[in-house]
Subunit: 419 residues, 2 copies
């Protein structure tokens, strides 16, 4: 039904930008990011920037913008508590997440999602195949369920959906790849399992035009998932991963043509530290679309501390081109995160985004402002500019002299000498 | 008294190595690091490697060796509890520190140090100027106290001492530098304050031969401190820092000549992420001595999470040449660390060392072994290869199915398809 997709009815930000109509979103994002509305519109037209919206809030992702951080929450079919996910959403917003992905597969996932939407003003992403599979298992899933679940979620007012567009050709390449870890994407493996059980092509590809129409209707951002990411640092970038990128760039260009904003997720998972920059350059030399990276983890053995290893990988990724990071919590590979783990994962990735931005754009004034307060021993000023002032205040404990140096504080001693 | 220093009595590892006498230390280190005793000896002779010893334990630092991690502990004159420091030393050893620095300035520092020595088998480093200053304040310190305190500590059987060799010329450069943070080294500022109050040159420089004789006597490793490190990321590498390095290389060569093993600490503190690699190359193109780096922190605003930002900086530093890292805890800039913070800081820096080594030498088999266990869902195997298996086990909670994915585990789903 290309008539409906390409019709005269202008609806999406890409179409407004391409027609030169200056929407408030373009002005607002320009102010947030110190760019002109014109620059924003040019980049949206070209697919280089997407805008996710939720209520009055807008979040821009892509070329020349600050690196953004996504928080994943959601129940599993083993552990499901709607209050938990609500609380995690509140924590994500409080500690500065840019976007939220609600990935529940257990309990009443629709109620959980609605709870989460009500809990925050953050743009919300879902993976519709999760709910489609959760309804009655993969074996009872059919194409109509897949499309209808996606449509239902889009109608609810989410900001973005993830599609796993793995092809049979890619699955064949994985079979021959010799990878240690195979495929580690949950969404991708659900889709692959469906394709295998039904001996069919991926419905996300075969019915892509129809999906674009649904997304276009509500100007929902399309995020093309990274099914074939490496699951350990010894699994290198391989032909399957490169094919996934080529295929997703083609889909992203079709989406842009249809007025649908698109992000590509690539090179997340586990990647050797010395190859992260190269992967980012590989992507950027081929794709104009915003690059979303999960992690990456530059080591496999940081179990229980994956948020820290992930912060190292994500700093390198964002410093060399990633536009959007998906956080990792300390319980990655182990279970669902607790509230504190959501906070720790998020802050670790905001640290990575901040370091990455300092590499992309040079250090910003926040660091300088904090340093000036530190020099003056202005503690309140330091808490104000800190990434989590509340925690800094708690760890500082009390208002007496700093326990670290006491009378032998370097700043105090040197003030006598050099000032 | 050059006769005593350069005399025939062979005593230090440098001298054994230079004479071609194969000591057990050389063989043991070779086995630990997969190098021949010959290679170890050549590098020790050249000053490229040092060996710290404590009881039967040896720790090699320098060219071609795994990156090592140091843990700082110690009381301040505001907060002092010998049991605390004892407990922290035990934690440092338990969680895999390579060396320990005991930096107490409050309470009975000698007793605390003795407690710490008894608590662990880790090579111990001290900063003698701390105890010298703590005895009666900087104003009551004199040259004899400084030298005698150093001598006393060396007699006690420590492995390494830090000297702050700041010169009046360097202080003058700092006065003109326009730095936001000035000087942030506690030891360096104590020495500078002494020099200022007494209008004299640094006794560590003017009495360097005598100090070398003391260190030679017990083959204690000399660590030349990084007084002029940047205290915020907007304070760049400046002429003062470059002069400090030039001066310290000259001192290190004098030390090598005297048979004293030497490390140089440089480019720690706060350094922009995009300049860390360049600083490491700057050092390595000028100095053959092992490079010790504190941090560095690539952002100033991670207060309360400096161990995480520090892990990013230290990964880059070690990946580009640093041989030895000094950890940073979450309470850096805020106070003395708790036990848990010592553990968290240490693990964060062991992560950095591991990532750095993967950049220097390629990824090692630990990651591959863990990945193979993960693929087989062998949890015990994963705990065995994890950097902190105990914590991984605790976070995993119980032995049921993983709460993260449940029935929709990617590994399980894909096993049906690709195997």
């Amino acid at each position: 039904m290309p008539g409906t997709i390409y019709g005269d009815l202008m609806k999406t930000l890409i179409e407004y930008a391409q027609k030169g109509i200056v929407r408030d979103e373009f002005k607002t994002l320009g102010i947030q990011e110190h760019l002109s509305a014109r620059e924003i519109m040019d980049r949206i037209s070209a697919g280089e920037i997407v805008i996710m919206r939720q209520q009055d809030r807008i979040c821009g992702i892509g070329r020349g913008l600050k690196t953004k951080v996504n928080v994943n929450i959601g129940s599993s079919n083993i552990q499901s508590d709607p209050d938990e996910e609500f609380a995690k959403a509140v924590i994500a917003e409080k500690y500065g997440a840019d976007t939220l992905s609600e990935l529940s597969m257990g309990g009443n996932v629709r109620d959980i999602r609605q709870n989460v939407v009500n809990a925050t003003s953050l743009p919300l992403t879902t993976v519709p195949i999760y709910e489609a599979a959760a309804k009655g298992g993969i074996s009872r899933m059919d194409e109509e369920t897949i499309i209808r679940t996606l449509d239902d979620q889009v109608q609810e007012g989410i900001s973005s959906v993830v599609l796993h567009t793995i092809s049979n050709n890619q699955i064949e390449m994985i079979r021959k790849s010799g990878r240690i870890m195979g495929v580690v994407s949950k969404g991708g493996s659900i889709v692959a399992s469906y394709m295998y059980q039904n001996a069919c092509e991926n419905p996300h590809i075969s019915r892509f035009n129809e999906i674009l129409e649904i997304l276009h209707e509500h100007d929902v951002v399309l995020s093309l998932g990274n099914t074939l990411r490496s699951g350990c640092i010894h699994d290198p970038r391989d032909p399957a991963q490169e094919a996934e990128l080529v295929d997703n760039i083609i889909l992203a260009r079709r989406a842009r043509e249809a007025g649908v904003q698109t992000i590509i997720e690539w090179s997340g998972g586990h990647v050797r530290a010395d190859l992260i920059a190269d992967n980012m350059k590989y992507y950027k030399s081929r794709s104009e679309f915003p690059l979303f990276v999960a992690g990456p983890l530059p080591m496999d053995t940081a179990v229980g501390y994956d948020h820290i290893a992930g912060s190292v990988g994500a700093s390198l990724a964002s410093g060399h081109g990633a536009d959007y990071l998906c956080y990792i919590t300390p319980s990655e590979h182990l279970g669902l995160p607790t509230h504190d783990q959501v906070r720790d994962g998020l802050i670790s990735f905001r640290i990575a985004a901040h370091i990455g931005d300092s590499m992309k754009y040079g250090p910003d004034d926040t660091d300088k402002n904090l340093a000036r307060c530190r020099r003056k021993m202005d503690w309140e000023g330091q808490f104000k500019y800190a990434i989590d002032g509340e925690r800094a205040r708690t760890l500082r404990k009390g208002t007496g002299p700093c326990t670290m140096c006491g009378d032998f504080c370097a700043l105090k001693l040197m003030n006598e000498i050099i000032r």
